[in-house]
Symmetry: D2
Subunit: 299 residues, 4 copies
């Protein structure tokens, strides 16, 4: 029975994402922080970990970005994207809502909805959306802004569902494990790497030109300063295709040559399953030609 550590507690969006990966019989293990989730898998306590990686409103999740490149390598084997729709949970039979509890980020994301539907309720900050649900369950507050999955953990009712000020806000989650297994290419894959560049003018332009010249589609780019040397950056690059494909393998080799350090963060099926237009045949033909030239078989 595989074990999946996730950024808990129970009842959060990350638990919901872990469930979405639909590993049969998986045991979900909530841990307190993103770094702890990765550490559990690194230590071998769990086979996988599930962590949020970016949110369409908030951007990249810094804790995940940093934890991915600190310590032993982990690679993503799957991604899932969840809409950021909250449920407003109350104790069954609640008549009046005077207080609404949640994590400050969640409160911020339903501010307008609250203003319209519960204009007189006082917002209360809690440590997580799940702890808000818990505090409602034990009678401390009247309503919780929670992940939909929370209703399955507490004796609460749904006062409202699919609540969100930004209709199409989404969070992307990764399922990570130790290197050793690479999902097979599906024709609709994404590859993630983290590159640390030397402190040199134009180095990012060169990295991206390597991708452009190969017809590789960039789907994400995040930069974060390294803790060490000033002016040195880490770039998290998401691109279409799978490292097992000639086009992507060639591109990653190019990134390797331009970087001080590079870490492979996985090749995995895209959540949207939209086929990526690849040009692998051109890469295979080019390699075949060079080999023939080297053998003296052609001019």
């Amino acid at each position: 029975m595989p074990r999946i550590a996730y950024f808990g507690p129970q009842g959060t969006f990350t638990e919901q994402a872990a469930l979405a990966f639909a590993l049969e019989d998986a045991e979900l293990v909530p841990v307190d922080t993103v770094p702890l989730a990765l550490a559990a898998t690194r230590r071998g306590d769990t086979d996988f970990c599930c962590v949020p990686v970016e949110n369409s409103v908030e951007g990249a999740v810094p804790a995940t970005m940093d934890a991915l490149v600190t310590g032993d390598p982990l690679v993503a084997v799957a991604e899932t994207v969840l809409p950021v729709h909250f449920s407003i949970l109350v104790r069954p039979g609640t008549n009046e809502i005077k207080t609404v509890a949640s994590h400050p980020h969640a409160l911020a994301q339903v501010r307008e909805w609250l203003g319209e539907h519960l204009p007189h309720a006082t917002p209360i900050a809690t440590a997580s959306t799940a702890s808000a649900a818990k505090s409602v369950a034990n009678g401390e507050f009247d309503a919780a802004v929670s992940a939909p999955v929370a209703v399955s953990h507490y004796p609460l009712s749904e006062f409202a569902t699919e609540v969100a000020d930004v209709a199409d806000a989404r969070t992307r989650f990764l399922l990570l494990r130790k290197p050793g297994f690479l999902p097979a290419p599906t024709g609709a894959d994404r590859t993630s790497v983290c590159v640390t560049t030397p402190d040199r003018m134009g180095v990012l332009a060169e990295l991206l030109t390597e991708l452009r010249l190969r017809g590789i589609n960039l789907t994400g780019l995040e930069s974060r300063p390294t803790k060490g040397k000033l002016g040195e950056y880490r770039f998290y690059i998401d691109l279409e295709g799978h490292v097992a494909e000639p086009q992507v393998g060639d591109a990653l080799a190019a990134l390797h040559r331009h970087s001080r350090e590079i870490r492979f963060l996985g090749s995995y099926p895209k959540a949207d399953h939209e086929p990526a237009p690849m040009h692998n045949a051109e890469f295979t033909a080019a390699t075949t030609w060079v080999e023939a030239v080297r053998k003296g078989e052609t001019g």
Copy 2:
């Protein structure tokens, strides 16, 4: 007397940044959110606004990124960088600390310090670091993890100062106003723009190549999806130099040509005052030569 709206309440790091801009006799006006701070200046209620733009641990501040490009243009005229050092504030005479209150982000940034110095205190999440200080002042909790400036607003003592798990964490703040005034170049300036690119493979590589070919030093790059069309991105670009300089003006014109939309976010002295190595003479010579050619004065 100039008025500066800032992301309040009183006693936060943003207030401290607003004070650091050292505008004589400025009146500081706390507002509840970053968008409201910008809105106050857009409406003309305040002359300036002061907002956090990026944190070395958390990365870019999404609320600021989004608010900068929504509504009428505002331009930065100054930046300041504050170390993220907290003060632990208590009521004078406090003997025992059972509860420590703060915004969850702040609690996260002093987790290790608390584990070492106050291992038995219960952390309490509040809506802001300033509201934590307030709740300590009124006796609700025992200690607050606050911005240093908070001590000047509440009758509290410093139990500890310069508290931070990451020693060199820093937050960068901008002072924004309506266009109409451009700070004079100082030789150590930064220019910020936001570019919306067409959905085309390689467009970011081309933008950055334009900068590289001009010897322009990129000091920051953040990408955020636009809300509208899928695959369309906004890039926030920080570069060295001042738009009044030939080299930077030429580079910004190039960015303009490659973008669907571009917004100038300001040219202003860098907080570190480190001179940027520019090549303006080459740009002036090139322009002068083309003009001479056009007049038939040279071959």
Copy 3:
């Protein structure tokens, strides 16, 4: 009455090109070499000079390439393209052709035709196609492979015309003068420059990337080593558009910045009059925007 020096003697293709420029009442002055033609104009002895610049079979004309960048600047104000079709000239009444004289290059270009039509004639090398015609006129040889115009200078008959092994061979000629007058843009222009680059890896890639990023169409590129420093090259670049156009002016300024030396060799109507697709509006809009930003008129 304008005077045009041309690479003579009378009766060559270059004379024919000089006539094609159709300057009313021009006096044509044959000189012995390409460098002498340019020298005549540099000294002011002639107003213009007409020289071959490239041949579709032989490539660039080295004498012209070198003379263009040695000495005072000259700029092209017109180009013309002539088909390389020879006339076989004989004395009227000639019955048998035992010898065929011409410059070795011309003999090479009609080798197949001679093999088919005059298989028993002995080819004789002369110093120019015109001197071959002259030697036929004075009875020395039987036939001359000449430029069509030669028939107007000697008492000879056309044995055959439009003779050429390669049907579409063409030579391009430039009409040069001292700087001081720039032909007006016509919407179908070409601009020529000569750039000397520093001895640095990748410098040509950068020059051409400057053009590519501006959507400038390269129509010709010739490289020649400079006589001086080893590893230093001169690049002769032909591109579509006119220096008076914003797009081309901007591109030339970029080339100026990357080069050790640059010489403008003219903007002039293309011989084929095919409109070049330009993007000047984008360049004007970009410059206008930067100016507005500098004045504080926009963000």
Copy 4:
């Protein structure tokens, strides 16, 4: 005994180059033209052919450029560079020089020397420098401007040697054979390819950027229009390194991907034996890393 076809007749610089390749016991076979030299090797009549490829004064040799890409592939296995120093040959006992014969190109390259040393001699154009020597030997003219080797073929004396207006003029020659044998890398090699590009704006910039990004040093670039489609060019590219090296093989594969057609023209020791600074270790390391990632051995 290997047979080498060369662009004859006997007594030319090309014969001298063929001798310089110093193949033991080689039989030298003069043929009339460059294309015929290549054809002899393509047919198997000779094992090798020796042809001039570029001259530092005249530039690329068009006949060689065109013949290289027409017909079956041939690859260069060696290069040699000869100084263009002429010998002035006369019949022994000649007292007065009234006529000086040579190919017009050779006469042009010693014009100044003749003006100084033989100001009253009449220049006579012949079909080759060797035929000039022959005509002097048979008493037709008084002196011949010849390749130094000519003296070994005719009963003539050296009136002067090392004659040249441009002191350091040089011609580069290639020794070609059918594919099947690749010279071993020496650490100081050159690789030549011919690339036909699609008619697309910026394609040459992209080709050269592929080389620049790999730190490949370009040592020669010649462009020639293809006979077929207008706007389509052939580029002859010389670069440092050997196709057997990882860095060069990778670069050639990239060129293959960008071209409509590509022909390998050889990897061979540079005539100057100057080591080329290569970065093969970086290329090997990058490939090794990608392979490890594909096997799941690393992140």
